[in-house]
Symmetry: C2
């Protein structure tokens, strides 16, 4: 069964670079990547926060948040 | 042809988590991942620095450095 990977971003240039390189590089045989734009889906900020996401872009893999470079703090998206 | 991905770390807990989750999640059909332990291979710190790496763990994909969470600054490994 494929594992779900969540990529949270906010459309910033740093986010787009990470999306194109990292999120797109995951093994499609093992992962289903869901891309969540927190600027457009503010109702999911709480979910990201609960997963431990502090800033975007971030990838949540196996329940663990990995912050990739730094685009914006999560607090700016509330 | 496979693209080379370089994962730089220093053996720290944050580094190990990123290696197990992110470096291991890359598509093996498209990427060859080289794991570089900068604490043990200090001669490669300059190479990481030239690629734009500021801290470990970091993944260099397509020549672009992606810092994943924060383990240690590169300056601590010189």
């Amino acid at each position: 069964m494929k594992q779900k990977a969540l990529f949270y971003h906010a459309g910033c240039p740093v986010c787009v670079a990470a999306e194109h390189q990292i999120a797109a590089a995951l093994d499609p045989a093992r992962f289903t990547v869901e891309i969540v734009h927190l600027g457009e889906q503010k109702n999911r900020v709480a979910e990201a926060e609960a997963a431990g996401v502090k800033s975007v872009p971030a990838l949540v893999l196996g329940g663990v948040p990995f912050h990739i470079n730094f685009g914006a703090p999560l607090s700016a998206l509330k």
